[in-house]
C-alpha cells in the first residue's frame, strides 16, 4: 500500500499539493502507520498543478538548478545527531545532523547477510586501502562518482538540461553526469558508476529507469549499498514552479528482500546568479587516497 501512496498525488492545487506532499512525507517517515493520501483523493482535489511547458513542446519543463535539503547523504534511514569521525580535529564541523530519513516505511529491507555487510561498510567508511581503492570505504570521501540515486540528495546542486529528445543531468559533486534519452530505451553495454538511464514521460512526471550499475557506489555515508543487480526507477514530478518531488524505487534481489522507495522534495535554486560551479574534487581527495603511499615509502628510505 505504501508504495502506491504517492503514485499520482499532484493533481491538485500547488498549495494543496505541497501541504499534502509534506504531510505524507512526514507521515510516512515518522511512523509505520502513516497517513494514506489515496489516488482518488488526490484526483478529487481542486486544480491540477500545470508545470510550464518546454517552449514549443507538450512536455513540462524541468530544466533548472535543483538541490535537496535533507540529511539522507548521511543516512537514508532515520538517524540522530552524532559526533563526526574526527571530533578532536573538526569539532562539530564534521558532526552528523539528525534526520528523519527518506525511506518510505523507514527501514531498508536488507537480507540478513547483506545487513552485516552494511554494518561493516559503516565501520570502515573512512578506511583507505591502496590495494582496493574502489572497494573499501565510502566512495564520496574519495571524490568518486556518487551513483544514482545518491547524486540527487548530496548537499550539492545539480542541473537538469532538458531538450526534446534528451535530458542531461549534471551534478556539481565530482562533475558526475548522465544523459537520459527519452525516445528509444537501450540496454547498458557495460556497467558504470552512474548507471544507464532510459527516460519517458508519465503525464507530467519524468520517469527514469536506471540499471547497468556495478557494485561500487554506496547510497550514503552510513554504508548502505547495493550489488550490480541494482535497478532504480526514478520519478521527478513538478509540484510548483520551485519544487519537484523526487521518488526512487530501488530493487536489488541480491541485497534486499523486496523493492523499497525513497521520497524527498527538490528545491529550485532561485538566486539570479545561481550556477553549477565546478567541484571537480580529485585534487581535494588525492592526499586522502594516496597520502599513505608517500609516507610508507619515505619510512622505507626509498631503497630497492
Amino acid at each position: 500500500m505504501c508504495t502506491r501512496v504517492m503514485d499520482k498525488p499532484w493533481t491538485m492545487s500547488v498549495r494543496m499539493a505541497l501541504s499534502t506532499a509534506m504531510a505524507t512525507f512526514v507521515a510516512v517517515t515518522a511512523s509505520p502507520g502513516y497517513v494514506v493520501v489515496g489516488e482518488a483523493q488526490g484526483q478529487d482535489q481542486a486544480q491540477t498543478y500545470q508545470a510550464p511547458r518546454l517552449p514549443g513542446t507538450e512536455r513540462p519543463d524541468l530544466s533548472g538548478i535543483w538541490q535537496a535539503f535533507v540529511t539522507a547523504n548521511w543516512d537514508l534511514e532515520p538517524h540522530g545527531a552524532d559526533a563526526g569521525p574526527f571530533p578532536r580535529l573538526l569539532g562539530v564541523w564534521g558532526a552528523q545532523p539528525p534526520g528523519e530519513g527518506v525511506v518510505v516505511g523507514n527501514e531498508i529491507p536488507y537480507l540478513p547477510e547483506a545487513l552485516a555487510r552494511r554494518d561493516e561498510n559503516r565501520r570502515t567508511r573512512l578506511t583507505v586501502d591502496t590495494n582496493n581503492v574502489n572497494t573499501v570505504g565510502d566512495p564520496e570521501a574519495k571524490c568518486y562518482m556518487p551513483g544514482v540515486p545518491r547524486a540527487t540528495y548530496m548537499p550539492f546542486p545539480f542541473q537538469i538540461i532538458q531538450s526534446t529528445e534528451k535530458i542531461v543531468i549534471a551534478y556539481q559533486f565530482s562533475s558526475a553526469n548522465r544523459t537520459i534519452p527519452l525516445t528509444r530505451p537501450t540496454e547498458a553495454p557495460v556497467d558504470s558508476w552512474m548507471g544507464w538511464s532510459n527516460g519517458h514521460w508519465d503525464g507530467d512526471t519524468l520517469v527514469v529507469d536506471v540499471s547497468g550499475f556495478h557494485d561500487l557506489s554506496w547510497f550514503d555515508r552510513a554504508g548502505n549499498y547495493h550489488s550490480e543487480a541494482l535497478r532504480v526507477v526514478e520519478r521527478y514530478t513538478p509540484v510548483s514552479p520551485y519544487h519537484l518531488i523526487y521518488e526512487a524505487t530501488i530493487e536489488d534481489p541480491n541485497v534486499f528482500s523486496r523493492p523499497w522507495t525513497i521520497r524527498l522534495p527538490l528545491y529550485r535554486r532561485i538566486e539570479a546568479n545561481a550556477r553549477l560551479l565546478e567541484f571537480k574534487c580529485v585534487d581535494l581527495a588525492e592526499e586522502y587516497v594516496y597520502g599513505s603511499l608517500v609516507e610508507t615509502s619515505n619510512s622505507q628510505g626509498g631503497g630497492r
Binding site: G56, S163, N177, P181, S192, K280, G302
Partner: protein
C-alpha cells in the same frame, strides 16, 4: 569507458579512414573553409539556432602550418591528394601524450638493443605506453577532410605566437625545481590528465582526441550544454541577441575549465570563458607538462588567471559545425591567436548506434597513480632517471620556444 572499442589498432582505423577519404573529398562533403551561404541553421522548438548532435571533433588538418604552404590558408585538391599519397595526412590528436609515448618507445628500443640485461627486472621497463594507447584509439568512422593548411588562422603564418619572456623564465625555473623530484614522489608530479582532473583543459579538450572523438551538444532555453568525453558537462548560459551577458563570477572563483558565458549572434553561438585556474604552479609535472600545440595551452606555466578564451560555434551545413576560437593570455603569448576546426555530425550516432557518451570513470579506478607512486618510491634512482629523460624531451621544446621568441623579437627590431 571508451566507446566503439573494436579489436582493431589505430593503424587499422586510420587505414579504414583513408579508404573513406577520396569519396568524401570528391563528394565535396568536406568543408573547404567557406560557409554555404544558402544554409541557415535549423531552430530548436523554442527558436534558438540548433547545434544539437553528437559531433566528431577529429581533424586531419595540422595544428600549425607546414612551412611549404607559407601564408596560404588553403591547399589545392591536388596538393591534398599528394599529401595523402605521401602518407602525410593523419589524424591530429589533442593528445600529445601519443607523440611522447612514441618518443619513449623509440628510446626504450634503443636501450634494449644496447643492453645485456634488457629489463633489469624493473617493472614497466618495456611498456612505454604507445601500444597500450593505440588499443583505445580504434574507430570505425573518419572525420571530414578540410583543405585548410593549418588549424591556426591567425597569426597569418599559421604558427602559434611565441611564448613571452616571462612565461619562458617561469617554465625554466619550474624545470629547475623539478630536478629535485622524481617521476612520482607524489601525485603532483604527474600531469592533470593522469590525475584525472582535466584531460588537457580548454580549448584542447574541445578538439578531437583519437581516443574519444565525440562531444554531444544538448540545448534548453537559456543554456547550451556540451557533454565532454572526459567526465564533465560544459554548461554555457546563453543570453538572447541584444541582451546583456551575465557578468562572470568573482575573481576568487577559479575553475579547471573556467567559467563560460554565451550569447547568440545571428546563427552563431559566441562563448567567452574566463576564471581559469593557474594549472602549473611551482613544478612542471614529470609527465604531461608543456608540450606544443593548443592541446596544452593549459600546461604552459602562467596560463590561467589571465587566460580568456573566445569561441564561435556556427552550423554551416546539416553535418558540419564550424568551431573558431581565440586564445588571449598576455602573460603567456606575445599576441592572441585564433584557430578554426570543423566538427562533423557523427554518422555512427546518426545511424542509431550510440545515443550518448559513455561514462569516463578515470579517477575512480586510478590504480595507475597508486602504482606510479609505489614504483617511484621503490626505486627512486630509476624514477629520477626517468624524470630526467622526460625533462630532456621537454628541454627541446623549451629551447625551440626560446629561439622562436628571439626571432620574433629580432623581426620586430628590423621593422622599427
Amino acid at each position: 569507458m571508451i566507446p566503439r572499442m573494436l579489436a582493431a589498432t589505430r593503424t587499422l582505423a586510420v587505414g579504414g579512414a583513408v579508404l573513406g577519404l577520396a569519396s568524401s573529398v570528391a563528394a565535396g562533403q568536406a568543408p573547404a573553409g567557406q560557409t554555404d551561404s544558402e544554409y541557415s541553421s535549423p531552430r530548436t522548438p523554442w527558436g534558438d539556432p540548433n547545434l544539437e548532435g553528437m559531433w566528431d571533433t577529429r581533424t586531419y588538418t595540422p595544428f600549425e602550418r607546414p612551412t611549404e604552404f607559407g601564408t596560404r590558408e588553403f591547399m589545392t585538391e591536388e596538393e591534398a591528394a599528394e599529401r595523402e599519397r605521401l602518407g602525410l595526412r593523419r589524424l591530429v590528436s589533442d593528445d600529445d601524450d601519443d607523440a611522447l609515448a612514441a618518443d619513449l618507445v623509440e628510446q626504450d628500443v634503443g636501450r634494449y638493443a644496447r643492453s645485456d640485461a634488457p629489463d633489469n627486472g624493473r617493472p614497466g621497463y618495456r611498456i612505454a605506453g604507445a601500444e597500450y594507447n593505440a588499443f583505445w584509439s580504434a574507430d570505425p568512422t573518419s572525420p571530414a577532410v578540410s583543405l585548410r593548411t593549418s588549424q591556426i588562422v591567425d597569426p597569418p603564418d599559421g604558427q602559434m605566437p611565441p611564448l613571452t619572456r616571462d612565461a619562458l623564465v617561469q617554465w625554466e625555473a619550474r624545470e629547475e625545481a623539478r630536478r629535485e623530484r622524481s617521476q612520482a614522489d607524489d601525485w603532483e608530479d604527474r600531469g592533470l590528465s593522469e590525475r584525472c582532473i582535466t584531460r588537457n583543459g580548454l580549448p584542447g579538450e574541445m578538439l578531437g582526441s583519437s581516443q574519444q572523438p565525440l562531444k554531444e551538444i544538448v540545448q534548453t532555453p537559456g543554456y547550451v550544454s556540451i557533454v565532454m568525453p572526459y567526465g564533465y558537462v560544459r554548461i554555457i548560459p546563453v543570453t538572447a541577441t541584444g541582451e546583456d551577458q551575465l557578468p562572470p563570477p568573482g575573481s576568487a572563483i577559479r575553475q579547471w575549465n573556467g567559467d563560460s558565458r554565451g550569447r547568440w549572434e545571428d546563427d552563431t553561438l559566441v562563448v567567452e570563458t574566463t576564471n581559469f585556474k593557474n594549472t602549473v604552479k611551482t613544478v612542471v609535472p614529470a609527465h604531461g607538462g608543456p608540450f606544443g600545440g593548443s592541446a596544452h595551452v593549459h600546461y604552459y606555466p602562467g596560463t590561467g588567471e589571465t587566460f580568456r578564451l573566445t569561441e564561435r560555434f556556427t552550423r554551416i551545413n546539416q553535418d558540419t559545425l564550424e568551431y573558431r576560437y581565440t586564445v588571449e593570455d598576455p602573460a603567456v603569448f606575445v599576441s592572441p591567436w585564433s584557430a578554426v576546426n570543423y566538427f562533423t555530425l557523427d554518422s555512427w550516432a546518426v545511424e542509431g548506434n550510440q545515443d550518448r557518451l559513455f561514462e569516463y570513470a578515470c579517477h575512480e579506478h586510478n590504480y595507475g597513480m597508486v602504482n606510479a607512486i609505489r614504483a617511484a618510491n621503490t626505486d627512486r634512482e630509476w624514477a629520477l632517471d626517468e624524470a630526467a629523460r622526460e625533462a630532456g624531451i621537454r628541454e627541446r621544446e623549451l629551447r625551440a620556444k626560446q629561439e622562436q621568441l628571439r626571432q620574433w623579437e629580432a623581426s620586430r627590431q628590423d621593422r622599427r
